[in-house]
Amino acid sequence: MDLLLQTLVNGLVVGSGYAVIAVGLTLVFGILGIVNFAHGAFYALGAYAVFLALSVGVPYLVALPIAVAVVVAVGFLIELSIVRRSLYGVGNHGSLIVTFALAQVLMALMLLIAGPDPHPVRSPFGQSNLEVFGLMVAGQRVFILLVSVAVLSAFGLWLQRSVRGQQITAVAQNPRGALYSGINVPMIRTISFMLGVGAAGLAGGLLAPITTVFPTMGNGSLITSFIVVILGGMGSISGAMLGALLIGLANALFETYVSVQWTPALGWVLVIAILLFAPQGLRGKAQLDRY
């Protein structure tokens, strides 16, 4: 089996997982300007929702949409009670600290409800493998690839085509301008936040069979999604997708051909290089003011 080809396939498949997580963050960070440190906790919430649904006998393919709905509902409540009141227009350290504290609250709740031990999530595809001209990809991973591509492209189209979608883009570019042109900005912000955390919940549900479910599972995905969002450029959905695939490939290649133990540092080195030399990232807006 050709090692390089398999590594590239691995990279793409893992990248698609990153894409779903990162697009959620792009929405909240790019559009609402909130540095959402609770993104990982919503990811974990999605995974736990799938796990709890499965444990009461709901099949995986039904549990997934339920999990997303649960996370979206929680997102709605949180946006209404906390985010709306404290985060819009506040300096960066406001959103940083509130969302970080929110992440701790959610993780502590999950730990108190479902206990500290890791729980397995049975994938409907079991341990099956898809053998495509000599290359091996796990069933669940193919499912992730398909769902992420489907969801992300549908979302991209909806953002461009639908009225609501265009309003979101308008609010992203110029909240004040959008307000003056009659867009209900608070409602758009709530929707964006719900969509953002919903995407994180979906990613949690999709990846749960691979990562198993444990309280602090959100931390790893939080770091990855920030790396991807910055690489892809702030506020750009297509940028986040591109960044996710790039990081997936870079990590896979670096891990295989260079060194496994230094791989975690790779993502950050790329981000630091990008921010210093190409601040707008791959496709984002150059929002940086520089000295």
Binding site: F29, A101, L102, G267
Partner: protein, 326 residues
């Protein structure tokens, strides 16, 4: 320089008052756990002060400040363990190393601002943490560096609770005095002008980038000192000193105490360490309550306790009080 004469009078009084409080606390409180915890809290308050040089001073959130905290701990540990240096010398070297590192890191990252600066400096902690784990011959790898000889500072044995507390507390007060002087000096005025209105500051002759770099290089040694002062407490330095959770704890202290008040971080540090000491319920419940409190504070009093106190004070004094205060 506005409150110059007033500062000299109430400033001197305040320093003496703080020293008296420290001396009293050091001698009267008998429970060694509380005294040692107070020492560790003073060391961590230093780290919170260093963060506030950036947050209160420049309006930037330095998530990567734990790089200097860790650098201080490792440089001091390596100085003592592999070179057999006394703690005082190792501490000075650690602070010097952190200033050099701040110059390099600052030159790279201070071109950015706001969320980008925070996230890039957070990224740096990720890279440095991986380095600390993998460069075993230097950092002792995942297990870290331990087994230090008895650590003394100016003849005071730091493994003894009372000695540890007195040294940390005095260094804390000294740092507060220096920061108060900096805030009132030309450099302090330049920093404040850069924070409020960098565009206008530049047109008045302030080299904005250089002042931000100088502030960054001022905050680094304070963080390094905090890192080094934690060694007598933990007796071990592991890669976790570079973890961003240290910065977030210290950031919570700053926000609790209020970033606009010079000693806000110290007050926040006391609250942050003392409250958990009284509640001994399930740790996860404690995290739940503590984090919810932080959210409520950020919603109703983003300026932290300081804002609440001054709001209350204003209600009594009719609001004529000038906002400056030591």
């Amino acid at each position: 320089m506005s409150s110059t004469r007033a500062f000299r009078i109430n400033g001197a009084h305040l320093i003496v008052a703080w020293l008296l409080v420290i001396a009293a606390f050091g001698t009267l409180v008998s429970n060694p756990f509380v005294v040692t915890l107070a020492g560790y809290t003073s060391a961590f308050a230093l780290f919170a002060l260093s963060i506030n040089v950036m947050l209160g001073g420049l309006g930037e959130v330095p998530l990567g400040q734990c790089v200097f905290f860790g650098l201080g701990a490792y440089a001091a540990a390596i100085g003592m363990k592999s070179f057999g240096l006394p703690f005082e010398l190792a501490l000075l070297i650690a602070m010097a190393v952190s200033v050099a590192a701040a110059a390099v890191i600052g030159a790279l990252t201070l071109k950015l601002t706001g969320a980008y600066f925070s996230i890039v400096s957070w990224g740096l902690t990720g890279v440095v943490l991986v380095a600390a784990m993998n460069l075993e011959h230097v950092t002792g790898g995942p297990l870290g560096i331990f087994g230090f000889p008895t650590i003394t500072f100016a003849g005071v044995d730091l493994s003894e609770p009372r000695g540890y507390f007195l040294v940390c507390a005095v260094l804390l007060v000294a740092t507060v005095v220096v920061l108060a002087a900096v805030r009132d000096s030309r450099f302090g005025a330049a920093i404040e002008s850069v924070r409020q209105n960098p565009h206008l500051a530049r047109s008045m002759g302030v080299d904005v980038f250089r002042q931000r770099l100088k502030a960054f290089m001022l905050s680094a040694p304070i963080a390094a000192m905090a890192g080094a002062l934690c060694i007598p407490y933990t007796q071990i330095v592991t890669p976790e000193v570079f973890a961003v959770s240290n910065t977030v704890d210290a950031l919570l202290m700053v926000l609790l105490g209020g970033s606009r008040l010079l000693v806000g971080p110290v007050i926040g540090a006391m609250i942050f360490s003392i409250i958990p000491y009284f509640f001994n319920m399930d740790p996860n419940v404690r995290i739940l309550i503590f984090s919810s409190a932080i959210i409520l504070i950020m919603i109703f009093a983003p300026g932290g306790l300081h804002q609440l106190m001054s709001a209350v004070a204003d209600r009594f004094t009719g609001g004529r009080r000038a906002p400056s205060g030591i």
